[in-house]
Subunit: 490 residues, 2 copies
């Protein structure tokens, strides 16, 4: 006999075994629910009157069962606040401890909870999360949720909310030179999902920059496409190689034209032209990963490649660097012929992205809060960039030879290139750890990590990716000190 | 030469062709930006002073360019509010019209914008969206976002926020009899994503109930698994057939034990037992789609099957029926051995679900707002269910023979079974349309739609799925009137 009961506050499903008799059966059921954690520590139980009525038992039966469990230490009866499940330590074993539940790390090293971190963090990948615009975001959420029609809380267009797609069409046009209307935009849950859907729909071989983010290579591969690594240099991706034998079957090229990740170079205008010609010649697709295009510090050509060839380019933008990765909002701007297949893939992946965040971002953009937020962030990151350049070039007590700073025209990271005369990457990372500083080596970002030999190390540039956007304002100067000390090796 | 300029409010990327001379080049660049929609109607331009400073031009040059565009009708100069892009109709062709941007329907008939709807809606699939708890949700969001640590805005555990996983472990334990701790829960973006990831990770053949939601069959297939349709009857899924030749290779069974969709039956206790034995015998996996388990109206055994065999069952729960599909929050409770592979698949799908909604739901559950909301909804839907039963059984002016009402013990939908003596499904749907009533026929929910012949129609039960949860409170009585009239055929 399973019974269902409820109190003013909580629902509970209880299986009372009729063979044990009513009181004992109820006791057993409650005891089991407490032991296996279904009734958590501190949970208030219904009054004996309520539970008796719900279960069709005499009130005295329920009281007796409660008394027994209080006696056992499973429950605590407090005058005025009723009967509650006892706190940990005062009850029997078997209740999973919150401490245990906190621990644990996911399959591939993503931290769960609060992992142990080094004191200083210049690891790239996230903006300064302390500047997430909590108050402005909540205001926008309030306006958006209150103004939303009822249907906004239901299933909708797999492409996402029309309010956000319209706001983005306008924003991306003026801020990034993207040519589109709302109909060709699909809201996705981060760049990872964008690449996953593209891998699935386009298939074949993707030419992808190398070095790049290894997870992105993996995502494309795990969704059915092949990856051919495309070298990069100081002028961005080696577009000239696309016509060579290594990329014979490639139908798609994934590039970061405005600020190559992690090298930091900008795709040269001649290469942009060549890339577009390559795509047009073979009806191929350019995927433009514009992950930090909003953060440019020096006047230079930085419009989206998409503006040159909207019919051959998928523009992939994101709020991960402007707001924070946790909002999981990114957008694909698609050539007409890909809208149908990508919409269908999105529908089969998760039907649509979460709508309330989309409505909030639409409101955030429409009110120009988004522009203001980006402007303030750009100023802040430019100051950090300037300070980084200043400290590394002129201020490092004893001038730190053996490296050069690059990729600083834009974005939230720069590249410290290590020269053969100086320290190796491994040496720098070891020294950094001694100064309690978290850094990322270029070595982790190659498509095929080099074998751990001198020969292969020598063949590839060595470098350190410095994420100057990651720390808080207050922590940045000290992190920079640690970096300067790390690099001041003689 | 591409230049970047900015105003107090907006960012804009402009490519000024130096070959045209400064004034003409600026005019052309602005004209083009307006024509192709990058500068939307109503957008305020920067002052001539600001733009001149940004571009390093004389102010007079910018003024002259603005004057020219005002003369052409592209811009409008208003005393006090500066210069703006002209509204539609007053400017040249080529600017995509907002009306056009609104229209359009996505690849598979999902409505974009506001499609034409029938006056009365009893189509199943969503709860009453007018009861989305906007105010309580916004309050929870405010508390959650303000209390969140900075790291909550960054990348996190692909399984989702620990706060929500802990709250769910407690809630699902007491309310649904699910046995788990937070470590075995993965937050996914709706049931669709849950099934997509399971299809991808488990592969092989999925036995899936028939009838069921066709999209779910498609999702599993498009993620690499096969589907074998599993018949259902008044005792739920025909679990006995799983040992027969049609399911020889099936390693996974997807079932809706608490309220079969769309038949509405509850999986019989003996079949639950048999299902668990089948799974244990072959180390197979049960996927329990518990989409509306919170809404039970009569006392009966309805705990999750997962509680009987946590090591062989994936429990799939969702907030789509309790809150609304738009929040895209669902959860997989996994056997230990599947946590790693599913976490990895989630990481490759979209890294993690959006965090702010997760934190909000965690707060909503912890404050018991979730329980209160569900309780109020359950009461409301029970009244609707009672009214439905009353109207169809006793009140239909001339008693409406030829059908029977079933599946009403739980959930947000019921099944009107059409008896051979009465109208066919097609006849009912046609009549419903005449009464301006939107309904779903059982015929759309079979794994293989029957050929449009009398023979195949006769072989399958005919019925109408009545989504009594869908309309607003105010609209429900009229929708019910329309249903009664539709079914009162003699």
């Amino acid at each position: 006999m399973a019974e269902y009961w409820s109190t003013l506050d909580v629902d509970l499903h209880l299986a009372v075994d009729p063979a044990s008799g009513r009181r004992v059966g109820l006791e057993q059921a409650l005891r089991e629910a407490i032991r296996d954690g279904r009734l958590g520590a501190g949970t208030r139980l219904p009054s004996t009157r309520t539970l008796a009525a719900e279960l069709g038992l005499a009130r005295g039966t329920v009281s007796a069962a409660y008394d027994q469990l209080v006696a056992e230490g499973h429950l605590v009866a407090t005058r005025g606040s009723g009967t509650r499940v006892a706190e940990l330590g005062t009850q029997g074993a078997g209740n999973p401890s919150p401490a245990k539940a906190t621990a644990g790390v996911s399959a591939r090293g993503e931290p769960a909870g609060s992992p142990q971190r080094l004191a200083h963090n210049l690891r790239p990948g996230t903006p300064d999360l302390s500047h997430f615009p909590r108050a402005a975001w909540l205001r926008a959420a309030r306006r958006a949720v209150n103004a939303a029609p009822n249907e906004a809380f239901g299933y909708g267009d797999p492409r996402g909310r029309i309010e956000l797609r319209r706001a983005l069409a306008e924003y991306l046009g003026r801020a990034r030179g993207v040519r589109t209307d709302a109909e060709r935009i699909i809201i996705v849950s981060g760049a990872v999902q964008g690449l996953a859907l593209l891998g699935q729909v386009l298939g074949g071989t993707f030419a992808m920059e190398d070095p790049y983010i290894p997870l992105f290579h993996e995502v494309v591969r795990s969704h059915g496409a092949q990856v051919a690594p495309l070298p990069v240099d100081d002028d961005g991706a080696r577009v000239d190689l696309l016509r060579g034998p290594d990329f014979d079957g490639a139908g798609t090229a994934v590039v970061t034209p405005s600020h190559q990740y992690p090298i930091g170079s900008t795709l040269h205008p001649a290469r942009r032209q060549a890339l577009v010609e390559w795509a047009r010649a073979g009806r191929r697709v350019i995927v433009e990963d514009d992950y930090d295009g909003e953060f440019r510090y020096d006047r230079q050509p930085v419009g989206a490649v998409q503006g040159m060839a909207p019919e051959r380019t998928v523009y992939l933008g994101t709020a991960s660097k402007t707001l924070g990765p946790a909002v999981r909002l990114a957008w694909l701007v698609l050539p007409e012929h890909l809208v149908g297949p990508l919409t269908e893939a999105k529908r089969h992946a998760d039907h649509q992205s979460e709508s309330l965040g989309q409505l909030t971002l639409a409101e955030f953009i429409a009110s120009h809060d988004y522009d203001r937020h980006i402007r303030a962030a750009r100023l802040r990151y430019r100051r950090r960039r300037d300070l980084l350049a200043e400290r590394l070039h002129t201020r490092a007590g004893r001038p730190a030879a053996g490296f050069a700073l690059g990729g600083i025209a834009a974005g939230l990271h720069a590249l410290v290139r290590l020269e053969p005369a100086g320290m190796t990457e491994a040496e720098v990372l070891k020294r950094a750890a001694e100064f309690d500083l978290d850094l990322e080596g270029l070595g982790d970002l190659w498509h095929t990590p080099p074998a751990n030999t001198l020969a292969s190390s020598a063949a590839r540039p060595q470098g350190i990716v410095v994420g100057f956007g990651s720390p808080t304002e207050a922590a940045y100067p000290r992190a920079l000190d640690a970096l300067v000390r790390t690099l001041s090796w003689r």
